[in-house]
Structure formats: structure tokens, C-alpha cells
């Protein structure tokens, strides 16, 4: 399910309020409410009071898991946004280039003309299908590990070979693409990633080679 930006903002506020309600219920029921009742009844058990038990049930069993699960769904969608990728310093240069109208890099052109309408980073850096999404999430965890804990080598390089099928998913069925002789001649090699779409006399680099350096300014 895809939510609009305004929906995501509304969900964010609802979740924050629910989260605070659950925290308040937990603190009140466990530490304050039961303490007051304990004063009245010696040997009081928190679970002996039905109201406290139901309040805790609401907090522990209903609100908390619900908040987590809805936030998980929301966060996964929000993690596809460009500004999420941009939250790592090393990505600043790439996003600056993406948003630069004078840039002629492949990524920037795709962004400026909105050939990819939303989630431009994610669309080009995740493979299609269920396992493509899962693979993107796993590699995302690897990026977080590199960013915060292990560090990374510069200049940044893509792990392995870029999968041409991500390009072909959109470009492949287009007649303008099929009409070009080089595409027709090399389609098998392109599909099998034995040949890159970039370099030689074909397509320019997707990002400026020094984009990672912007971080050091």
C-alpha cells in the first residue's frame, strides 16, 4: 500500500500520540495507580485490580504492538525517499547533483524530467520483485553498518555489477529503445549483465565521479 505525503504526516502524528498514551498508561498503571491502591489494601497485587489489568492490557497487548507495526509499514515506505538516503553525509553530493538542473548525469536527468516520478534513488538501486525489495533492505542495513560502525572506502563503488535489468524494466518495452540498432544487437548481453549500459560510446555516468567528495567540503 502506498500512502501520500499528507497521509504519512497524519499517520506520524497519530502514532506519536498513541505512543505517548501507551507510555503514560504503562507508567500510571504500574507505578502510580497501583501504589495508591496498595496503600489501601495490604498485599495488593497489580493484577488483582481489574481496571489496572485492562489498562495494562490496552498498553502492552493492543497499542504498543499496533504502534510498532504501523510505524514499521510507514517507515519502510518513508525509507524509499531521497531525503532518507541523504541522511548519510556521504550521499549529500549525489543528491545535490540529482537536484542540480544544470547537471547532465544520468541520475539527474531522470530526476529533473521526472522520468521516475518518486523515490528516484530507491527505484534505480533496488531490483524488481519481492526478492529485489528484500535484497535492497539487506543492502540498506549494510550501508548503515558502513556509515556508522565499519566505515567505507572512497571513492564509493557499487557492490558487484549494476543490474541492467533495472534499466530494462522501464526502457526495454519502449519502441525508441528497441529501434536503436546497438540495443537490438546487444540485448542478450545486456540482460545477462555481460555488458554495461554505461561507458564506451553508450551512456554517460549515472553520477559525477567526485560526488562523494562534496561531503568533505
Amino acid at each position: 500500500m502506498t500512502y501520500s505525503e499528507s497521509d504519512l504526516q497524519t499517520i506520524k502524528y497519530i502514532l506519536a500520540v498513541l505512543c505517548l498514551i501507551a507510555i503514560t498508561i504503562s507508567i500510571y498503571s504500574t507505578f502510580f495507580r497501583s501504589r495508591d491502591i496498595r496503600k489501601l489494601i495490604k498485599g495488593f497485587s497489580i493484577l488483582g485490580d481489574n481496571t489496572t489489568k485492562w489498562l495494562l492490557f490496552m498498553s502492552f497487548v493492543i497499542i504498543s504492538p499496533l504502534v510498532f507495526l504501523v510505524n514499521y509499514e510507514k517507515s519502510i515506505q518513508q525509507s524509499k525517499r531521497n531525503d532518507f538516503c541523504n541522511s548519510c553525509h556521504v550521499m549529500h553530493g549525489y543528491i545535490e547533483d540529482l537536484e542540480n538542473p544544470d547537471s547532465d548525469s544520468l541520475a539527474s536527468v531522470h530526476y529533473q524530467y521526472r522520468w521516475i516520478s518518486d523515490y528516484q534513488c530507491y527505484t534505480c538501486h533496488s531490483e524488481y520483485g519481492l526478492f529485489g525489495t528484500a535484497k535492497a533492505k539487506v543492502s540498506g542495513i549494510g550501508h548503515v553498518r558502513a556509515q556508522y560502525f565499519l566505515g567505507y572506502e572512497t571513492p564509493l563503488k557499487i557492490k558487484g555489477t549494476y543490474n541492467n535489468n533495472i534499466c530494462l524494466h522501464c526502457h526495454g518495452p519502449v519502441l525508441d529503445f528497441q529501434d536503436i540498432g546497438e540495443h537490438e544487437d546487444n540485448i542478450k548481453e545486456l540482460e545477462q549483465n555481460k555488458m554495461s549500459c554505461l561507458g564506451a560510446d553508450c551512456h554517460v555516468s549515472p553520477h559525477p565521479k567526485d560526488a562523494w567528495k562534496t561531503n568533505d567540503k
Binding site: C19, T30, F60, P65, F68, C88, V144
Partner: protein, 72 residues
């Protein structure tokens, strides 16, 4: 010293509440300020704490109910 600490259902409920609150704080952090790190904290720390507290609560409530029925 350790033998003197009496573990009652109340103790478990307090532990459950603390785990739940800490888990919710991690989730709240990712709700308010979503970055890769807060998202990972929410998934790796928040989720286990919330679901462990849920399990402990259910087990304690079931055991407590059974105990009450036996004593009645």
C-alpha cells in the same frame, strides 16, 4: 541477599512495564526523527522489547488467573 528478593507477579509487571516503555521510546524516536539509525534501533531494539513485554504480560496474567482459580 539474592534469596531475600521475592519475585512476585508485581515484579514481573514492573519489568514488563520498563521493557515496554523503553521499546516504545525507541519506536517514538523513529516516528519523530526517522533516519537509518533510528529505524534500525526501532526494529532491532524496540520490536523485541515490545514483544517480550507482551509475552511476559500474557504469561504472568495467565499464571495469575490460574493461581486465583486454584485458591478460590
Amino acid at each position: 541477599m539474592i534469596n531475600k528478593i521475592k519475585i512476585t507477579p508485581n515484579t514481573f509487571i514492573v519489568i514488563t512495564a520498563v521493557l515496554n516503555i523503553v521499546g516504545l521510546l525507541f519506536v517514538l524516536l523513529s516516528i519523530v526523527y526517522l533516519t537509518p539509525l533510528t529505524l534500525i534501533f526501532s526494529l532491532v531494539l524496540g520490536a523485541p522489547l515490545i514483544f517480550i513485554s507482551l509475552l511476559i504480560f500474557i504469561v504472568v496474567v495467565i499464571l495469575d488467573e490460574r493461581k486465583r482459580r486454584i485458591t478460590q
